[in-house]
Subunit: 333 residues, 2 copies
């Protein structure tokens, strides 16, 4: 239905390291894309100005290509109030965007329909609209990167919750007296499994337990430790890297099991930069998920890696717009 | 709408200790009720026979009172397949009902519309239809008794998941290498907080740590330890009881926080026999929930005790029927 209408969506993925934008057709084809690196933003009001310029540039491009623009979708790294489209106060790495009513700002500026939501909600919708989860009724996305985010589609509808905070898989507590998390709590999945937490745990252990493998991989410069390097060290059998990866997988597996036991989706999709490590992480996550979850519930849940490209953020923003357009069309009269 | 139609619902709550049945009017008034104690069932096919007799008896009663019967709602202590109405293989304490397609059995026997679902899903619907959660969009029920069950209503719809296993709050893992749970996993909320697990933990501790308080409360007979007795001992300052209650509250609080961070409902309702302990348990559960949950998310979630009567199971079965009736009426044409 909406998918067959002509025209493109102006889709923008707002991230801490920059903006990615694109013109996306309703079947998920990326007609054009561009990025703006964060270091070019300046700070303060410059960030919103850059975002508006990116949108205007994509609109111009569509016009030159004679493609009607159906609307705008934007994913942001934080909670968004569903009713107002206002970004929450705690947007990651981009505090300047906090509390901005981005939906109405963009609507007034462009006269177009606009959908704004959390970026991992958008990723879940990308998988559901263009990816492996097409046609399913209950789907969860877990994105492991700088944070551990989640997006939930249940009964065919995105779950936003009372304040737009739903889907925070990364802050499920899996260890009652566990590792401190930046959120103020303890034992969150994120505190073991996010990229920065993996690196921090490795550094803590290396302080007491020198490692020839890490010395060789870093050339003695511990500031060069990043998640891919930790996975390389684990692959070479380094005990520090192995222990940290094992704990990250156990915590992620427990978080995935919580999703299975609480929501029992048909599919859980693992994505994000840290998951690019591949089977060295995915295999134990699956194993722990099966250990912690109800056998009969997890038997109904496929746990897969995202198959979408690096452009999944832009596809998510487009999927978000299509989702909202479809919901408007589906209201019972 | 459906609530204003005349007639009553034959509502049955199937439990391990017996069946409770009632005639319920659409506003939640219990016109009549009766129970069958489990020890009268016999085993095997006798259980289903007793259930059918209870339903037939309630139908007769409605006829004598000249009340049209709109349909039947049944809550059962296990998962139910949404599409078929078949009880799952793992029904608690009543294995004889496992795999029985109860919905079609009752439909064929009575010619009435029948709704069958998990009993804690039914409790969530009772709170949403007749209780404190009326009119909310996102609601979670946590019932702490022999097990720790859950029911989720998100975006105004009951969440059943792929196999009817959604809502298993009791099997969220909150301690990675924690206490063994009967489900085969470790560190489940249930393993710390269910009635039998509270008692088992107390007995384990008493083996090494004699307690004058327990000796006095039990008259030296440890088989008399039950959850209310443990809460009385905690109230008297017994360190064993205090430690077990504290851990149960911490685990429940972490489970509630997982619900808040994953689903961010407007209300979480705590019910079930163990919760009748009152503030000695509810207060620390709330405190831990606030500790483990996102501050902004939990600020949107009211955590309350169930205000429904002992008849909540019967009300839940009726609410289940009304929910299904309303859903049939709400399908978009």
């Amino acid at each position: 239905m909406t998918g067959s209408e002509p025209g493109v969506i102006v889709a923008v993925d707002v991230g801490g390291t920059g903006f990615a934008g694109g013109l996306v057709d309703p079947s998920g084809g990326i007609v054009s894309s561009r990025t703006v690196a964060a270091h070019r933003f300046g700070r303060g009001a410059g960030i919103l100005k850059n975002l508006l310029e990116l949108v205007a540039g994509l609109e111009d491009e569509a016009q030159r290509a004679d493609l009607p623009v159906r609307g705008i979708g934007v994913g942001v790294p934080g909670a968004v109030e569903e009713t107002t489209g206002r970004i929450g106060p705690d947007i990651q790495n981009l505090p300047e965007l906090g509390n901005i009513p981005l939906r109405s700002v963009l609507q007034e500026r462009t006269g177009l329909r606009v959908a704004v939501d959390n970026d991992v909600n958008a990723l879940a919708l990308a998988e559901w609209t263009f990816g492996q989860a097409t046609g399913l009724r209950n789907v969860a996305m877990v994105a492991v990167g700088t944070g551990v985010g989640g997006g939930l589609i249940l009964n065919g509808a995105l779950v936003r919750g009372a304040g737009g905070y739903a889907g925070e898989v990364g802050h499920i507590p899996v260890e009652l007296d566990g590792r401190r998390c930046f959120c103020g709590s303890r034992g969150c999945v994120k505190a073991y499994a996010s990229g920065p937490d993996i690196v921090a745990q490795v550094r803590d252990l290396l302080a007491d337990q020198p490692s020839a493998v890490f010395d060789s991989l870093t050339g003695g410069d511990q500031s060069r430790i990043d998640p891919p390097l930790v996975f390389r060290a684990a692959d070479r059998g380094d005990p520090v890297a192995e222990a940290v990866v094992a704990k990250a997988a156990q915590a992620l597996g427990a978080g995935v099991a919580a999703l299975v036991n609480l929501c029992n989706p048909e599919m859980i999709i693992l994505g994000g930069g840290v998951m690019e490590a591949g089977e060295i992480l995915v295999e134990p996550v699956r194993r722990w998920a099966r250990f912690y979850a109800f056998e009969r519930a997890v038997a109904k849940t496929r746990i897969v890696r995202s198959g979408l490209s690096k452009a999944s953020g832009v596809l998510g923003a487009a999927a978000l717009f299509l989702y909202e357009a479809r919901r408007r069309g589906e209201v019972c009269s």
